[in-house]
């Protein structure tokens, strides 16, 4: 399987927030891995303010981009938020730009900076 992994971090002091660190290539086959994790986070663990860190993401295609749009939709209904950080790989940046993602999502240079802006 093409290498993809997602690491989820959250602290008990910030019950509504979580950080998802994406690693590798998020293609159509890898989608289910993160899809289920996000659903669990939102519905079961009530995390509605998410930072998606793309510092180690090398590739993303339209199914992955669509997933984040759908997630944003769900979060917004619950008063939540989804912010990207470290969209540094040119191919990832180009893919997101292609769909005009940066008109919809906020993106910050670091995970910490993005985390701070979750309460804006």
């Amino acid at each position: 399987m093409s290498h993809f992994d997602v690491e989820v971090l959250f602290s008990e002091n910030q019950p509504s927030k979580a950080v998802l660190r994406l690693v590798g290539s998020l293609d159509a086959f890898a989608l289910s891995q993160i899809e289920k994790r996000i659903q669990t986070l939102i519905r079961d663990e009530q995390k509605i303010k998410l930072v998606v860190d793309c510092g180690k993401l090398k590739f993303i295609s339209s199914p992955g981009l669509g997933l984040f749009l759908g997630t944003l939709n769900e979060l917004e209904k619950r008063g939540g938020k989804l912010i990207f950080s470290q969209v540094i790989h040119p191919d990832v940046n180009d893919a997101m730009s292609c769909l005009g993602f940066f008109d919809i999502f906020q993106a910050y240079n670091s995970e910490e900076e993005a985390y701070r802006h979750l309460d804006d």
Binding site: S25, F59, S61, S62, P63, L67, G70, P90, D94
Partner: protein, 330 residues
């Protein structure tokens, strides 16, 4: 990524969870060898992934055990990536009315692949041979300075389909008049995959031996064109077996198959003695109906063949029209 791997010009890739990565690696290696700038390589790799994903998803339904063929050719300042499957499921892009702003506004989760393809490469061609294979060709100019300043304009799909339907009319007219003048042919076409509305769009009715077929209404219009005695809310009016079955259905033989009375009444209502549902990608796109023969005889094998021929031609026209559908540029 192994950029030094010596890939052949065509690669056969087994459809499994790694196949997209293999496609990306293949295209990346070829693009590097062709001397494309890094930014353009990334776009090509993404485009190849999108095209392959669509084949895996729509043609193979994520089922393993199939092959995908990816080839790289260079000619006339163009790199042409061809991605081919062996699926008998026709695969063609959906919808010509793509509106990125609306999709983003309503946070649609899917349907971006074809738009992205159009943005990422200089041209995209779709080719479908029903029952055999589908092929997507991605074209990229190797030297962007030598490329045409504007992308080649694609023909308007609706106009193309309307034009092509004249061909079906001629064919059906010829068959009905020259070979079987006593058959009434009705054809119900359905909006397909967003190209048109999801309601029936046209009815083609031969008026008899001396009169030509005519198209009631125009392609793309709504159900206003339907005759009042036929109420068709989408295709829910069809008996279940017609929606599921993909072969011709002979009404006169249905009684012996234990057809339900209500099903028979529907068939009577549309006055069809022989119905051929036309499926494309599991969407019911059209129904070709032959009315009762004036001589009251049952339909023969030849009659069925005629209907199937019309059906196949209709299907091909849909495919061609979809192939040429226009993608709006932002």
């Amino acid at each position: 990524m192994n950029t030094e791997q010596n890939y052949p010009e065509e690669m056969k890739i087994f459809c499994d969870t790694e196949c997209l990565e293999k496609v990306r690696d293949f295209v990346r290696s070829q693009a590097i060898a062709a001397g494309l700038p890094q930014k353009e390589i990334g776009k090509l790799v993404l485009a190849a992934d999108e095209a392959s994903s669509n084949i895996v998803k729509h043609a193979y339904r994520f089922q393993s055990g199939h092959n995908i063929y990816v080839s790289w050719k260079e000619n006339n300042n163009q790199a042409v990536i061809e991605i081919r499957d062996e699926s008998d499921q026709p695969y063609l892009p959906e919808g010509s009315d793509f509106d990125l702003d609306t999709k983003l506004k309503y946070r649609h989760v899917s349907g971006y692949g074809h738009y992205m393809l159009d943005q990422l490469v200089d041209d995209v061609h779709y080719e479908t041979t029903p029952g055999s294979h589908n092929k997507i060709s991605l074209i990229k100019f190797l030297n962007p300075d030598a490329a045409p300043k504007e992308k080649p304009k694609k023909k308007d799909a609706k106009k193309q389909l309307a034009f092509s339907l004249n061909g079906v009319l001629s064919l059906a007219n010829h068959l009905a008049q020259e070979r079987h003048p006593d058959i009434l042919v009705k054809m119900y076409l359905y909006g397909l995959m967003g190209l048109f509305s999801s309601y029936p769009i046209s009815i083609l009715i031969p008026k008899g031996k001396s009169e030509p077929f005519y198209m009631a209404g125009q392609v793309g219009l709504s159900s206003k064109i339907l005759p009042s005695e036929i109420h068709i809310p989408r295709y829910g009016w069809l008996p279940e077996r017609l929606r599921i079955g993909k072969g011709p259905l002979l009404a006169h033989s249905l009684k012996s198959q234990g057809i339900q009375e209500e099903e028979m009444s529907v068939i009577d209502k549309i006055r069809a003695a022989l119905v051929v549902p036309v499926f494309l990608r599991d969407h019911l796109t059209a129904i070709v109906c032959l009315g009762p023969k004036k001589n009251k005889e049952c339909f023969s094998e030849t009659d069925v063949n005629i209907t199937q021929m019309i059906t196949v031609h209709t299907l091909l026209l849909w495919e061609r029209a979809l192939e040429k559908q226009v993608k709006k540029n932002p």
